[in-house]
Amino acid sequence: MPNKKTSIILALASMTILASCGAPGAGGSSANSSDKSQETSEKTSESEQSTMSTPTEDVIFDPKENVEITFWHTMGKQNQEYLDQMIAQFNTIYPNITVTHVQQGGYDEINNTINQNLATGNLPTMAYCYEDHVAGYIDHNAVLDMTPYINDSTYGLGHNPTGYDLFDGGVEDMTAGYWKAGSSYEQAGHYSMPHSKSTEALYYNKDVFEAHGWTVPKTWTEMWDLCETIMADPTYSENPDFYCLGYDSDANLLINLFEQNNLPYTTATKDPVTASHFGFNTAANKKIVSDLKEYHDKRYLITKGSSANSAYTSTLFTASTCLMSIGSTGGTKYNYTENFVTGVSGVPQADLNAPKMLSQGPSICFFKRGTTPQQRTAAWLFYKWLSNTENSAYYASKTGYNPVRDSSYNSTFLTDDMANATGADGLVRDTFHYVGDPDNGYTEGLFTSPAFKGSSEARRQMDGLLSSVLLGTKDVDKAFDDAMQACIFAE
């Protein structure tokens, strides 16, 4: 009831004889309601389009008309240089498209900025996003369903009208685990495109493992057995700072374990019985956490959230206060050290026949509010360029993120240029080879947690839940109750 609110504001405003101050508000809300009617008409035309199954209609592009697009992201200065290079090459093919890119802080910050700008309309053409951010943007009818663009006969994935080599395969070339996350929303449609994707891998101290003849654990049972063996060795047990395994993300550890053990975490649509997205407050889930607490107390396990200065466990790993570290493949380089050889393996599993590993990292979404069809298509063409076989491999090899196309693993960048890489680059290559090898389960086993308003809070709460239990500041029951409370209020 915006009218009621406006009238309260006006009344209060006039009470202080400041009626003038009501003006921007009143003007604002009326402008807003007209915006809304426009949006609704836009919405109906969108849905008409999809039902009429003539998706090509919207994909208009005039290669002669100059167009400016804006891309908001969270890349650091180094990664922006790679982006600039890709933009420069892009402009030799499409000289009429000017790409402006702006760094908007971290992932939380970019989401805040966009949320605030949903009210003002000051939105970019495309932006970095997490799936749950997009869920919020869809609620406000601000993001574009990319289905017509993907399938377009001229500009769609795998189609190339320019005559240049675009290294652009079809949908089947996109890494399935990353691609399917783009359509995992409550609404039908494809709303986000994978970009800086990563998964997790286990890094281990190869020198120590070989010296003792230990095998790298593939399951959690093997992992905890190995930890017991390690801690029997006084070299390690007598060092009070030593832990066998470091895990970089408390939330990822829990989400992985819940998924691997088929335990509830969150659901994309509300559970019919509890009428809630959140299902993690069960005895079985609590058992997982209390087991982890036991392993932490035995110094089998340390996480980023349970170390005093919340250090990434890669730091502990390279300092040899951990023998194994599980972390994002986007941070592979931080596990490299000159002091010993680092080996790469997969995240331990509960069931080797059904491997599950969490995929994460930002995607790119496209805004329909405040953009012209020409801009939208230009942005789509730019995305196709960023994510093509060669560029995806190039960006991945420079940054450590995973390529988003299967073909990238065989691209010249990864096969030729990086074949002789040593040091940290060599570790990045080894990680790519491990993740890209179908035998290791990564192509099939990647999963993302469901996206809905409140899913990022759930993730944040998993972080806090595990670290406060491991630190001993809370018991398991209270930690779960607190997490559930925070999730309910964030929804």
Binding site: A11, C21, D463, S467, F489, A490
Partner: protein, 367 residues
């Protein structure tokens, strides 16, 4: 939705408001003024730039905030809500909670509580025992922390500032140099210096090293809230000293030297002189810094951001280092109506405290 309807609705409000406004602005007494009443329109002209800017950028958002505090499920983006409610205040105070399916439950309808009052069990209409979840962030953390900060840092910093100011006032040499040194913390960025204190209080930092405390955690993860609170209070006192010293010093310099001569003749001791002469004569300045620093301490936020980076020392499981303004700031990003309700409560509390101070000072302050 039509704008005409809005216009119709607001008329009765304005009619009512007018009477109130007329009363409010009636001068209580005719001051024998140097300028006559004809200055009326001229005065408004002089005030116009300031009033217009304040109206747009302060009063309008303020009124908006108050309005939002009373609206149900306010959505900033669409600027919609589901009508008038007091629910937001209930939620902030931990009196209104929700079940997992989103049903509203009153605290007093719950029969038992667990997890520190976060979960309450109640028997629903069908006779089934269910759980309701309450937010305790404000009641258990934000308000107590804010009160602790206020009642620790304000008296301590005033006493230290008083000693330093009296010391500075009584020395014959290096007066200016020392005064300048004591003022330096005033010209620093609160967040930047907060980060410096974070380095000092690091578990491998200089404080532990100097005092031989080993790897004691003060502000790192796993540190108990009370230790983080000590570090925070040390930082706040450090950062708030310069302003107080300066105000007290300018007050001291205004004190007539003859009072001290009189005290000397009575051969009163230094301490006695301080308690019986200096402090009473400084009471207007002390009142002023008490009021400003109470308000400042109630609004403490940047110091927590600078020192801790997040409102928690247990890895994020609880917001045990929340202050009221930190809570408000967090809520602005998601549940703006709760933030608005907390802001209204904070405003009322500040008003009450300021009022009490004036009441007390009426007897004690010597003008």
């Amino acid at each position: 939705m039509a704008p005409e309807k809005t216009a119709q609705e607001k008329t009765p409000f304005i009619a009512k408001a007018k009477g109130f406004v007329v009363n409010l602005f009636k001068p209580k007494e005719r001051v024998s003024a140097d300028a006559g009443e004809k200055n009326n329109w001229k005065a408004w002209l002089y005030l116009a730039p300031c009033i217009i800017l304040l109206a747009v950028f302060t009063f309008y958002p303020l009124i908006n905030t108050i309005a939002i505090a009373f609206l149900k499920n306010y959505d900033y983006i669409q600027q919609t809500s589901e009508g008038f409610t007091l629910e937001n205040f209930g939620v902030v105070l931990g009196l209104v909670g929700y079940t997992q399916s989103g049903d509203m439950v009153m605290r007093w309808n719950c029969t038992s509580f667990r997890s520190g009052g976060v979960v309450g069990s109640f028997i629903d209409a069908g006779g089934v025992v269910r759980d309701a979840y309450f937010t305790m962030d404000v009641i258990k953390y934000a308000f107590p922390n804010t009160l602790i900060i206020t009642f620790i840092t304000v008296p301590i910093s005033i006493i230290i500032a008083l000693f330093i100011a009296i010391g500075l006032n009584s020395i014959p040499a290096f007066h200016k140099a020392l005064q300048t040194i004591f003022f330096v913390p005033y010209v620093t960025n609160a967040i930047a210096v907060g980060m410096v204190f974070a380095v000092l209080f690091d578990y491998q930092g200089i404080i532990n090293y100097l005092f031989g405390l080993g790897s004691l955690t003060w502000i790192d993860q796993g540190a108990p809230a009370w230790r983080a609170m000590i570090a925070l209070c040390v930082y706040i006192v450090w950062h708030s000293l310069p302003f107080k010293i300066l105000i007290l010093l300018s007050g001291l310099q205004n004190i007539d030297k003859q009072y001290y001569d009189a005290a000397k003749i009575d051969s009163a001791s230094g301490f006695k002189t301080m308690m019986n002469v200096t402090v009473p004569l400084l009471s207007p300045q002390i009142l002023y810094i008490m009021i400003t620093s109470f308000i400042g301490a109630f609004k403490e936020y940047t110091s927590v951001v600078g020192l801790l980076g997040k409102p928690s020392t247990d890895g994020g499981g609880t917001n045990n280092m929340y202050t009221v303004v930190y809570y408000i700031y967090d809520m602005v990003k998601g549940n703006v109506q709760y933030g608005a309700a907390a802001a209204v409560l904070l405003f009322i509390i500040i008003l009450i405290f300021t009022g009490i101070q004036f009441k007390v000072s009426k007897k004690r302050v010597h003008y």
